[in-house]
């Protein structure tokens, strides 16, 4: 028995990889769906804030991520853009990450085509600019100085929807989809705390816990963030709330099974660890 447990404990990691791959592929291939009610929480708060924005409100949306985090953040972007364009909210897009501008363009362009909104009237993509936090401070004094042209090199002054937007304070909401630095902390510190513009956002699941302090609301005061979509679950919540299930909702079953498989691995790992008496050898160690 002990030998068997030792063999399990030393299992080839390729077997773990295969089981993990199956845990992800099988639910997706079978199109397994799971009931996923969305209760009160950071995802619902952001949905509610966007839903309450009047028509022709102006939202600055910053695509602060790159392709590595696309599976989590792109479904969020699609759901948010769909929601805002459906509600006639105008979107000014930009990026603090170089590759975010093109990822944003893909989403804006495809959702715009499906909903029949018009570039430069309902949305515009200003593209990427380096500078991170300093750039956000600059947006507080002049949007045109930071972005003299949009992604397609159309001058700022020739874009109709930007005619009455000059600084960050002219926006009703800032949404940042953030995969790291610069991202949510920079927008919260500058746009929300310094210029008083409401900020909402989305991030990868692994970084969501660090942004929870920004969501805490004190009586009579606005929270630093109006809502937060955390990882694929946050994206799936938003898709459910706007009643347009997409990639994120479809991915929740795969993520469910993957989490279960990881938990089973941890349990087996602990059983073999204790049953084979390895605890004594690691006593006082850093495990």
């Amino acid at each position: 028995m002990k030998k068997l447990l030792e063999r399990i404990g030393n299992v080839d990691r390729r077997i773990i990889f295969i089981l993990m791959a199956l845990a992800v592929i099988v639910p997706l291939a079978l199109e397994l769906t799971m009931e996923m009610p969305v209760g009160e929480g950071p995802s619902y708060d952001l949905y509610e804030y966007v839903e309450d924005l009047p028509a022709d409100s102006r939202v600055l949306m910053s695509f602060d991520y790159d392709p590595s985090t696309k599976p989590e953040l792109q479904p969020m972007a699609r759901a948010l853009v769909t929601h805002m364009m459906s509600n006639d909210v105008n979107i000014v897009a930009m990026a603090l990450w170089p590759q975010g501008a093109t990822l944003g363009q893909t989403i804006l362009s495809s959702v715009s085509d499906s909903l029949g909104t018009e570039q430069y009237q309902d949305w515009v993509n200003l593209g990427y600019k380096t500078g991170g936090q300093v750039l956000i401070v600059r947006l507080g004094s002049s949007l045109e100085a930071a972005f003299p042209t949009d992604l397609e090199e159309v001058p700022y002054g020739e874009i109709p929807m930007l005619s009455d937007i000059s600084t960050l304070r002219d926006f009703d909401l800032v949404i940042t989809l953030s995969a790291g630095d610069p991202g949510i902390p920079a927008w919260v510190m500058i746009a929300s705390d310094r210029f008083g513009v409401p900020v909402g956002g989305g991030c990868t699941a692994v970084s969501a816990p660090q942004f929870y302090p920004y969501l805490q609301e004190r009586e009579g005061e606005r929270p630093q963030m109006e809502g937060l979509l955390g990882g694929l679950r946050g994206a799936a919540d938003y898709e459910t709330l706007i009643e347009r299930p997409g990639l994120a909702a479809a991915g929740m079953s795969a993520q469910s099974i993957a989490h279960l498989v990881i938990m089973v691995f941890i349990v087996i790992g602990n059983i073999t660890f204790f049953a084979t008496g390895r605890k004594k050898r690691t006593k006082g160690g850093g495990r």
Binding site: P37, A258, H259, V261, M263, I266
Partner: protein, 219 residues
């Protein structure tokens, strides 16, 4: 000279930014805007330096046949493909750059990050041990959050007879949210405040020339 010029630039730029924040009257807003524009220009120039360095490092690697040098031509070809298509046809939709970005860069980037799931599973199997009470507490929290962040956690809970009709049919996700909202938030807030104080202290040390390690030398 090599020491005092950078120190003076740091002091002047830092003081302008501080004064602009606390005194929102001329000339500080104009001076502040100038510093921010200069920052953007300098940061953009750093991208070109990065590109030149990338090419230099990989060309040297190829020339000297260093370990794994065969990957370097792939890096250079990839870089040049994106650079040339971007400069020649632009980066907007329906251009070669846009196609290469969406059909090659995006899937490859997403694939690299997705590999993390496999390494997390393997690492968790080998290293996540309930070896003492603190590790056990971490393990229990991790299990609850992992279950609570996906729909299957509540589905499993509702399999328990009477759970679906109880006052908490979604107990697992409620517990996960509580862990995030209370113990996690308390810890994160402490880390944030500590880090913020550290940033303020380090910034002041740099502005006043006490901290000079960013200049590259010992003093």
């Amino acid at each position: 000279m090599r020491l005092y010029v950078p120190l003076a630039i740091t002091f002047i730029a830092g003081m302008i930014m501080i004064l602009e924040f606390f005194i929102p009257h001329q000339p500080f807003p104009t001076l502040g805007d100038g510093v921010k524009d200069w920052y953007t220009i300098v940061a953009s120039s750093a991208i070109f330096l990065g590109v030149l360095n990338l090419l230099r490092v990989h060309l040297k690697k190829i020339a000297r046949r260093r370990k794994h040098w065969r990957y370097s031509p792939v890096t250079i070809i990839g870089f040049l493909s994106m650079f040339i298509t971007g400069v020649a046809w632009g980066v907007t939709e329906e251009t070669p750059f846009y196609y290469l970005f969406n059909e090659m860069v995006v899937p490859m980037g997403a694939t690299m990050f997705s590999l993390l799931a496999f390494f997390v599973a393997s690492a968790a199997f080998r290293a996540f041990r309930a070896s003492n009470w603190r590790a056990s507490l971490l393990l229990a929290s991790a299990f609850l959050v992992m279950l609570g962040r996906v729909p299957i956690g509540d589905i499993i809970w509702r399999w328990i007879p009477g759970a679906a009709e109880s006052s908490h049919p979604y107990l697992v996700s409620e517990i996960a949210e509580w862990i995030m909202q209370v113990p996690n938030m308390a810890g994160q807030r402490a880390i944030l405040i500590g880090a913020a104080m550290g940033v303020v202290a380090t910034s002041l040390r740099m502005i006043f020339g006490i901290e000079r390690s960013y200049l590259g030398g010992g003093d």
